[in-house]
């Protein structure tokens, strides 16, 4: 069973009288353990596709199976729990909560795991222990008590990656993860994704940057709302 299976995904945005078809029937399968880059120019619909793959947005038409689950037959709150269990997000603008320190930011998703899942996933290590370990591994072990405002862009993105990993999700979904970083920090972030992939994680990176896409094993090009693999 494929991890991600999209069938005939269409997305139409309505703006008054105007209808814009952003995705025009996308069929896509991603297996467990792949490192995929979704590439395309801005306005190509790649972000919309990422939001649909991340269960944050619903398509106008089409089917999406995540780990065999018919995603869009679920209600909003069930989708939320599905995200908590399966998906770790990394965003272009980090989205760290300003009033929480590094460690607490990483721990936010833990509260949203269903109780049984939480027990299962943190059987060996407590969430705090795991968060500290992840941050240490990402070179943030000395900055657990720092507030986001005290960090550089590269450091913020590393905290965001630790947050994406804390619940041990099936998929890491990254939207332009290097978009706001200098080239050295961007490179370091991509190296981290590569490392995670080598450990067996499924990583999907959405980008317009060929250099970023070059880290992936498979590049899916989106143009005018269609796949050009």
């Amino acid at each position: 069973m494929a991890l991600i299976e999209l069938k005939g995904i269409k997305k139409v945005f309505r703006q008054g009288e105007l209808q814009v078809e952003v995705l025009k029937g996308i069929d896509l399968t991603i297996e467990r353990g792949e490192f995929v880059a979704v590439m395309g120019p801005s306005g190509s619909g790649k972000s919309t596709l990422m939001y649909i793959m991340g269960c944050l947005d619903r398509p106008t038409e089409g089917k999406y199976y995540l780990n065999g689950i018919d995603v869009f037959s679920l209600k909003d709150d069930e989708l939320s729990k599905l995200r908590a269990k399966f998906i770790g997000f990394v965003f272009q603008s980090f989205y760290l909560i300003p009033y929480l320190n590094v460690l607490d930011n990483v721990l936010v998703p833990v509260d949203y795991l269903p109780k049984e899942e939480k027990k299962k996933r943190f059987k060996e290590k407590s969430p705090e222990e795991k968060a500290k370990e992840l941050l240490k591994r990402l070179g943030m072990g000395e900055r657990l008590k720092f507030k986001p405002a005290e960090l550089s862009g590269g450091q913020k993105q590393r905290v965001a990656i630790a947050r994406a990993l804390i619940n041990s999700p099936e998929v890491i979904l990254a939207d332009e993860p290097t978009g706001q970083l200098d080239s050295a920090s961007g490179k370091a972030v991509m190296e981290t994704f590569k490392e995670l992939h080598s450990e067996g994680k499924t990583v999907i990176v959405v980008t317009h940057d060929p250099a970023v896409a070059s880290y992936a094993d498979r590049v899916i090009k989106i143009k005018d709302g269609k796949v050009e693999e």
């Binding site: 909003d76 729990k81 603008s93 009033y99 607490d104 936010v108 998703p109 509260d111 949203y112 947050r163």
Partner: protein
């Protein structure tokens, strides 16, 4: 959402939190105050009734419409004698009063001079501190003797015992035989210690001709079961001798009614004030949290992306509302306690700190806060994650 996160969020935006707390704070203070005021005035009412005696009947000249007028003496010794023939009563007494100039050889002052019947001092609970009270002989032989209050004795003979001294009431010299213990002031501010008591017959001869009029009659009932019947009989006697608007019969039931009417009025006005304060506080909190929800729209989007359900988003905001309510309640209770001490004496209400006040006010604060914040919280929980995430600058 952990409690720590709630506090960190509140601390992060101190101005917002301060306004939210202030909004609820006033409601808490006024609620604490109103509960204490009601409790204090009901205690006061109980005290007044205890003072009056639950078994006593008081008749004064005047009418309910025109108010008691001690200067219009409608009651007479005939009433006293007829009431005295009723069975099942005791400690019957009567009196007449006139503000009169009293003097010694050196100085003079105005004082309330009472011509009183037997039992007066005991019946009204004047306790003799020095000397003695009146005896049968004082009344029978119309002895020119007086029992005085502390204000009188301290004025004429500071630091000395007044017993045996002579005062002039009008032009008549009277010998002081006793001083009663300090009684302070009535709730209306009448000084109870600036009084001179003399036998009724002596009053008639020295202060003013009484024509057998009296201003107050008081007696007590032996068996509480007969109380209503005796009051009814008393009224019948008085109605035979007077028009209905010439006298007022005061019983503890009447006093209770009057006092509870007063405290109900108080509760009503203070209640409106504190309800208004809380409702306004609720609106303030609600609008602060509406703004808060939109300012943090991206945070809501993020939390939803990370797996938060609508309920968990509502819980996030309600958690903050609860914290605001708790902080407001703590500060408000302290300020309320201070307000009790400062404001209640001005309203002539005894200072009390009823435990209910410090329970009811926080409960209301929590309910109002949760109710006020529920709507913005609900609105926030319905933000669509994709749109919400785009709101971050």
């Amino acid at each position: 959402m952990r409690p720590k996160e709630v506090l960190l969020s509140l601390l992060h935006n101190k101005v917002r939190t301060a306004f939210a707390v202030l909004g609820i704070l006033f409601g808490v203070v006024s609620l604490v105050l109103i509960v204490a005021a009601i409790e204090g005035s009901s205690q006061e009412a109980k005290k007044v009734i205890e003072k009056l005696g639950p078994d006593s009947v008081l008749i004064i000249s005047g009418s309910i419409k025109k108010g008691p007028r001690s200067s219009f003496q409608n009651l007479t010794l005939k009433d006293v004698n007829e009431i005295g023939r009723l069975e099942g009563i005791f400690a019957l007494t009567y009196g007449i009063v006139k503000p009169t100039m009293i003097s010694s050889s050196e100085s003079s002052k105005f004082s309330s001079v009472f011509g009183v019947g037997k039992n007066w001092l005991v019946s009204w609970n004047y306790q003799i501190e020095e000397g003695r009270g009146f005896t049968e002989k004082d009344f029978k032989e119309l002895r020119k003797v007086a029992v005085v209050g502390h204000d009188v004795s301290d004025f004429f003979w500071p630091g000395q015992s007044p017993v045996g001294k002579v005062i002039l009431v009008g032009k008549t010299p009277l010998r002081v035989i006793g001083v009663y213990k300090k009684k302070g002031k009535t709730p209306n501010g009448h000084n109870l210690d600036n009084r001179v008591f003399i036998p009724y017959g002596v009053f008639d001869k020295t202060v003013e001709k009484t024509y057998e009029k009296v201003s107050v009659i008081r007696f007590r009932v032996l068996n509480p079961k007969e109380y209503d019947e005796i009051v009814k009989e008393t009224r019948e006697i008085l109605l035979r001798n007077h028009r209905p608007d010439e006298f007022i019969v005061i019983t503890p039931v009447v006093v209770k009614k009057f006092l509870s009417m007063l405290s109900a009025t108080l509760a009503f006005f203070l209640g409106i004030a504190s309800a208004t304060a809380l409702v306004v506080g609720g609106f303030v909190l609600s609008s602060i949290f509406y703004v808060n929800a939109y300012v943090r729209e991206w945070e809501v989007g993020l939390r939803k992306a990370l797996g938060a359900t609508k309920r968990e988003i509502v819980g996030l905001f309600l958690g903050e509302a609860l914290a605001v309510a708790v902080i407001s309640s703590l500060i408000g209770s302290l300020l309320g306690a201070a307000a009790i001490k400062v404001i209640l004496p001005g309203l002539k209400i005894p200072v009390v700190y009823p435990i209910e006040a410090f329970i009811i006010a926080p409960i209301f604060a929590v309910l109002v806060s949760l109710f006020a914040v529920y709507f913005p919280a609900k609105r926030a929980s319905e933000f669509e994650p994709v749109k919400a995430l785009r709101k971050k600058a």
